[in-house]
């Protein structure tokens, strides 16, 4: 079913020796759970007021980053993948921030 062509994979594609072990994946998952729990706890700290924005941003970006680095292997793979993805990601953030500025979010 899956074809011959697809079977011919370049050696460089199999990085299992580079890839982290199952234990590492599990640790990452624990970190993700911890960060999510922190998010939910912080969510009930009403006294943070606007301070919640940086706190939440740090926590979410942390989760985002470790998923991308470990689960999506960007930390171990070719830098090219990082560049291609980051081009879209950074531009996406710039566009959202520009739009928020234009619609008076930071006044």
């Amino acid at each position: 079913m899956v074809t011959d062509q697809k079977n011919k994979i370049n050696k460089s594609d199999i990085h299992e020796h580079n890839h982290p072990s199952v234990i590492t994946y599990f640790k990452v998952a624990m970190a993700l759970i911890l960060l999510t729990a922190l998010e939910i706890v912080v969510f009930y700290f009403d006294w943070l007021r606007y301070g919640i924005i940086p706190v939440m941003a740090v926590l979410s970006i942390g989760k985002f980053a470790i998923v991308v680095m470990y689960y999506m292997h960007l930390k171990f793979d070719s830098k090219l993948f990082t560049y291609l993805f980051m081009a879209g990601l950074i531009l996406a953030m710039v566009v959202i921030l520009c739009l928020m500025a234009l619609f008076g979010w930071f006044k």
Binding site: M1, V2, T3, D4, Q5, K6, L80, L84, A87, G88, L91, V94, V95, C98, L99, A101, L102, F103
Partner: protein, 612 residues
């Protein structure tokens, strides 16, 4: 004919086309050259329909208070003219060059995903047909190619015209995205050994930058179109002003896409000119690295200027100042490119033929468009120019005098490679001069009447406004352009069949496509070339290294095989698109067809292991 039974959850047995002939060859082909020709011919036909729409517009405006075309039809005409020229004309004409030329320039036997390439073509064709079928199905879209909300909502536009526009553009977006994904990967991953990024021909570079711009810009317009589609079909509130929506949302999303789109239109033409000028000047391009950096900088800045299309929408002085400055900055890398082209010709031995005429025409016309662009980058004076014929003049200098001149130059330049025959030089020159004179007499007076207060998108004007004389001149000259294009068509048709044999390297070319026979064999390169320098072919010719006898036999080269699936997936998309307009059940069937055919596609090997 070998049959490959596909055991799938849903039991499909379709034999794979093996060495199909005639029309089935064209329908199932995955050869980038054939797809390139299909793209080019289809896009050119669309360009003609867009031209006819333009002539009708100009005819109505020939004099004051004319009543040749009804206002509603006029609005549909200018909407379709712009939509056609941008999405069905210039973009796919550029894509035709990407398809045909890029693998040849980087020394590849095909693109990275041949079937995706075929899919891109069929989606483009069907998208174009969806768009154009609106003329026969109750009227075309009538809100301008920019489709500013809320005039596109059902409250103000109940007919189906806008629906055709919404789904048509989405289908065309899928086509463009598929092609761009393909070319990004192809240019990254299919380069011949030694073809490093800084040895890529400039046309390949411009394609690469264009494709990156496109994959980042099209999602934005797709979201905007989906939002509008949800509004129109399911009564969402994105642009429903009575629910408190702000119509500027559309304008922002549209121009976040729309400004990079402008560079998507012009960068390929810049790339073509950057191939033609060194070839015929017999000189290397002046400042190769600067040319690449300038283009990259233009592409990057293209994301930070979009609100200059919206200076009059009340963004406030801070936003207007910021976007004025960023817009002005784009003039700098554009200037660098202009000077480098002049530097390329300097001291050269320039052949005076049709491709160079179009290229030099490109430089001089694009310069005018660029300067008028700087004029309205100043938001303070743009308050007077926004939505007047001054802008119409500017954009036609950039897109007609720029992009179209570049593309026509490219067609003449690569015609001998693609067909193996030489075009008629005299008729080519006649074509150029008619288009050049027509272009200037049509679009230059628009600067005057724009500053004299004539707004865009008006189907009539009063005699006492003083705009009548130049409008008459413009209409006359628009027909001169049409005659120029007519001579182009005659030239192409005549030369394709009966032109003198061109030979493999008629221009004493610099890049790899000239090192193979004309037209290129199906496998492109018998031996994948080893690249050692920028303009490798030229350098090797200078060193006296000519063709080496190859030991590879053509039959040993594995080529991507024909497939039905790309066309069938595109067909499914088309059915879904019509379903959105007329009947959601049909839409569901179309989506189901897409899912099934995509699965079948992914289970079909690129090459059958046992087939050659």
């Amino acid at each position: 004919m070998t049959t490959i039974p596909l055991k799938l959850p849903f039991k499909i047995n379709l034999s794979r086309p093996v060495n199909p002939t005639g029309i089935w060859d064209w329908i199932t082909t995955t050869d980038h050259k054939k797809i390139g020709v299909l793209y080019g011919v289809t896009a050119f036909l669309m360009f003609i329909t867009g031209g006819i729409e333009a002539l009708l517009i100009r005819t109505q405006l020939a004099g004051p208070e004319m009543k040749i075309i009804a206002p509603e039809v006029y609005n549909q005409l200018f909407t379709m003219h712009a939509t056609t020229m941008i999405f069905l004309g210039v973009m796919p004409l550029s894509a035709a060059f990407f398809n045909y030329i890029i693998p040849l320039q980087i020394g590849a036997r095909d693109v990275a995903f041949p079937r995706l390439n075929a899919f891109s073509y069929w989606t483009f064709l069907f998208g174009a047909l969806i768009m154009k079928s609106s003329w026969f199905l109750g009227g075309s879209p009538n809100a301008g190619w920019f489709g500013y909300a809320p005039i596109t909502t059902t409250t103000f536009n109940a007919g189906h015209g806008i629906d055709f526009w919404v789904v048509g553009l989405q289908v065309l977006g899928v086509a463009s995205l598929a092609a761009s994904f393909n070319f990004i990967v192809t240019i990254i991953n299919m380069r011949a050994p030694g073809m490093s990024f800084m040895r890529l021909p400039l046309f390949t570079w411009m394609t690469f930058i264009t494709a990156i711009l496109l994959v980042l810009a099209f999602p934005v317009i797709t979201v905007a179109l989906i939002e509008l589609m949800l509004d129109r079909t399911f009564d969402f509130n994105f642009f429903n002003t009575s629910a408190g929506a702000n119509p500027l949302l559309w304008q922002h999303l549209f121009w976040i896409f729309g400004h990079p789109e402008v560079y998507i239109l012009i960068l390929p033409a810049m790339g073509i000119v950057s191939e033609i000028l060194p070839t015929f000047s017999k000189k290397p391009i002046f400042g190769y690295a600067a040319m690449v950096l300038a283009a990259a900088f233009i592409a990057f800045m293209g994301w930070l200027v979009w609100s200059h299309h919206m200076f009059t929408t009340g963004l406030g002085p801070i936003a207007n100042s910021v976007f004025t400055i960023t817009t002005m900055l784009i003039a700098v890398p554009t200037g660098v490119k202009m000077f480098n082209w002049i530097g390329t010709m300097w001291g050269g031995n320039i052949e005076f033929n049709t491709p160079t005429l179009f290229s030099v025409g490109f430089l001089s016309m694009f310069l005018i468009g660029g300067i008028s662009g700087v004029m309205h980058s100043f938001s303070a004076s743009d308050y007077q120019q926004q939505d007047t014929y001054f802008i119409v003049a500017h954009l036609h200098y950039v897109l007609f005098g720029g992009a179209i001149f570049g593309i026509f130059g490219g067609i003449y330049y690569w015609f001998p490679k693609i067909t193996g025959r030489m075009y008629d030089e005299k008729m080519g020159k006649l074509n150029f001069w008619l288009m050049f004179i027509g272009q200037n007499l049509t679009f230059f007076p628009m600067h005057f009447i724009g500053m004299q207060g004539m707004p865009r998108r008006i189907f009539t004007y009063d005699a006492n406004m003083g705009w009548a004389f130049w409008n008459g001149v413009e209409t006359f000259s628009a027909y001169v352009i049409a005659f120029g294009v007519l001579f182009f068509m005659i030239n192409m048709l005549k030369s394709w069949g009966n032109g003198p044999k061109a030979g493999d390297d008629p221009w004493d070319g610099r890049t790899l496509e000239w090192s193979i026979s004309s037209p290129p064999p199906v496998y492109n390169f018998l031996d994948v070339p080893k690249v050692e320098a920028l303009d490798d072919f030229w350098v090797k010719k200078q060193k006296g290294i000519t063709k080496i006898k190859s030991k590879t036999k053509p039959k040993d080269i594995h080529l991507p095989q024909a497939s039905y699936w790309p066309m069938l997936v595109a067909l499914g998309l088309t059915i879904a698109a019509y379903g959105i307009i007329y009947n959601l059940v049909v839409c569901g069937l179309g989506i189901a067809m897409v899912l099934i055919t995509v699965c079948a596609w992914s289970f079909e090997p690129v090459n059958e292991p046992d087939a050659h």
